[in-house]
């Protein structure tokens, strides 16, 4: 097959992610302009050489803000997925592998979390953890993400092919934890990896949705999702705002998706 030797997905995705990370770091260190500096005379300007992405309704440079927001979005999405995936995989592994009481209890908890409307859960968590903090947002979103991963991983761990694995591993005298992490986890990667990149995508969307409802990042800090929710209110007045920020989001998610796709293909070959 074509993808067997060179893996363009992995390379392109990796290069793009590296570029985004570099931009985020670069943006934090040498922002072309102060991302928070307001200019009354420069409101809603169209893109130009001084303002690559134009300016927003406070006359701030959208490009500089997008650079700053890129870092925030990257961090929020990655941390959210990390929380969701780590706790979700643990839960999935324990319940899928052991079954029995642990399964019943954990899955009940998991179902309860799932059954909470995500927005309500996030809203309550942010109220409890304290508004105006990025960590509250990440924890709240992470909490929302756990049950989905748990359910998915439970199915993966309990899949028929894994059952055969477990049986043979047991016959060879392996212990639970070892079987889970050494034997089964690699087997579940084809399920986990795409779920991770989809999760990253979902986290970016979820953060944008929270910003839309007014419970996302706190201004004047920006995230790409926050900027996009701001831009949708002036689609007719400043279409480039939504287009530029939307473009960055699409590229970012695209890069992560490509990378995930590449990883997965490599595993299959």
């Amino acid at each position: 097959m074509a993808a067997r030797k060179s893996n363009p997905f992995l390379i392109l995705g990796g290069v793009l992610i590296a570029a985004f990370l570099a931009l985020a770091v670069f943006g934090a260190l040498f922002s072309p302009q102060d991302p928070n500096a307001m200019q009354a005379g420069e409101k809603l300007l169209a893109p130009s050489l001084t303002h690559l992405f134009g300016t927003d309704r406070f006359g701030r440079d959208i490009f500089s803000r997008a650079l700053a927001g890129l870092g925030t979005t990257f961090f929020v999405a990655a941390a959210t997925v990390a929380i969701g995936a780590v706790f979700g995989t643990l839960t999935g592994a324990l319940t899928g592998y052991y079954g029995g009481v642990a399964d019943a209890a954990l899955m009940r908890l998991n179902d309860t979390l799932t059954a909470f409307p995500a927005v309500l859960l996030a809203l309550l968590a942010i109220s409890l953890l304290g508004p105006g903090k990025e960590s509250s947002l990440v924890l709240a979103l992470g909490l929302v993400f756990i049950p989905g991963y748990a359910r998915l991983m439970r199915t993966a761990f309990a899949s028929p092919s894994n059952r055969a694995f477990v049986l043979s591993a047991r016959l060879m005298g392996a212990k639970g934890a070892r079987i889970i992490f050494v034997q089964l986890l690699p087997n579940t990667l084809p399920t986990l990896l795409p779920a991770l990149t989809i999760g990253f995508n979902n986290a970016v969307l979820a953060e944008a949705g929270m910003s839309f409802l007014g419970i996302g990042v706190t201004p004047p800090d920006a995230s790409l999702g926050y900027m996009l929710s701001e831009a949708q209110g002036m689609l007719a007045a400043a279409p480039w705002y939504a287009a530029c920020v939307g473009g960055v989001i699409v590229l970012l998610v695209f890069a992560v998706g490509l990378f995930g796709e590449g990883l997965q293909r490599r595993m299959h070959t």
Binding site: F9, P117, R151, P190, L213, G225, L235, A236, G257
Partner: protein, 311 residues
């Protein structure tokens, strides 16, 4: 049958747990129904009087108990804000949201399954690249952006529907469904992209397995292999994923209802939380929880059935 009974028992426990946790969560966060209702006209005396009127001066467990008792006997209580029976307020909104999510789910299932299978069979790098790019684009579109775009194009430029004027489901069902269709598209597009992607990668993974290679070696055509073996195996995670999708589109509905000004349950939940209108919040949360757990249970039951047949 015993399996199903056990599942239903769990369903009830989960819903009860959710209702209790919701009740408790509102004890912990700031904001009080009486203070919210009185707004800036609040004085300590008036707040106290209103709290007594609403029964908020009773201990937490007593209030939960009386709510639960009422709920079990079919009395959902009266909204603090609207002073109307909760069911009277919630029922019409439930219908709108059910229709909205129903259309979304049909769109997702009908479009993503064939697209997923088809895209798994693509071998050409260029087509694959285009597909991946298009897929990513669809996945990265937040529903509110898509919502504004669709409203703009189909509502204002093409006059296909009138954003801001949602027809009543009972008076003009055709008009209402048409209106809901655009909102449903916003919910469905990213989900279709995700499902396609999941299906594609699962099928691709399965196609690498030994039994497939063996079948291919025996001379079975790829279509045969796909139909006979692979689809059955990728069905499990797909059903799980769709079940989860059914639960998750409720979350997207909350935002889409705002953009399209659809009087639905999601929008009502957000405003009732903001007002601390506990009787309404409790009812909606229980309804949603029931729904989510039900879809999850159904997905599991289907998995179970398929599993048994395979196993």
């Amino acid at each position: 049958m015993k399996y199903a009974a056990k599942k239903i028992g769990m369903l009830v426990i989960t819903v009860l747990l959710v209702s209790f946790l919701t009740f408790m969560a509102f004890q912990l966060i700031s904001g009080d129904p009486a203070e919210t209702l009185l707004g800036t006209a609040a004085t300590p005396e008036r707040v106290q009087a209103l709290r007594e009127e609403l029964g908020l001066d009773r201990p937490f467990l007593v209030r939960y108990g009386s709510w639960l008792l009422g709920f079990l006997t079919g009395d959902l209580g009266e909204s603090y804000s609207y002073r109307q029976p909760v069911w009277e307020l919630v029922a019409p909104k439930l219908a709108s949201t059910a229709a909205l999510t129903g259309i979304s789910f049909v769109l997702i299932t009908l479009l993503s399954l064939p697209l997923g299978v088809l895209s798994a069979r693509v071998r050409s790098n260029v087509a694959d690249g285009i597909r991946t790019a298009f897929n990513q684009l669809c996945m990265a579109l937040p529903p509110f952006v898509l919502g504004v775009l669709l409203s703009w194009v189909f509502g204002i430029l093409l006059h296909r529907f009138m954003p801001g004027d949602f027809p009543s489901l009972t008076a003009d069902p055709a008009g209402a469904l048409r209106y809901l269709f655009y909102a449903a598209v916003c919910i469905a597009v990213p989900r279709i992209a995700m499902t396609v992607r999941l299906l594609r990668s699962n099928i691709a993974g399965e196609m690498q397995k030994e039994y497939v290679l063996a079948a291919a070696a025996r001379g079975a055509s790829p279509t045969m292999i796909l139909r006979r073996h692979v689809l059955k195996n990728v069905l499990l995670p797909t059903v799980t994923f769709l079940g989860q999708t059914m639960a998750e589109i409720i979350g997207a509905a909350i935002i889409v209802e705002q953009v399209f000004a659809i009087p639905g349950i999601g929008r009502f939940l957000v405003s009732s939380v903001a007002n601390r209108d506990y009787p309404v919040v409790q009812t909606i949360v229980v309804l949603l929880a029931f729904w989510v757990v039900l879809t999850g249970t159904l997905a599991e039951l289907i998995n179970h059935a398929v599993d048994k047949r395979l196993g």
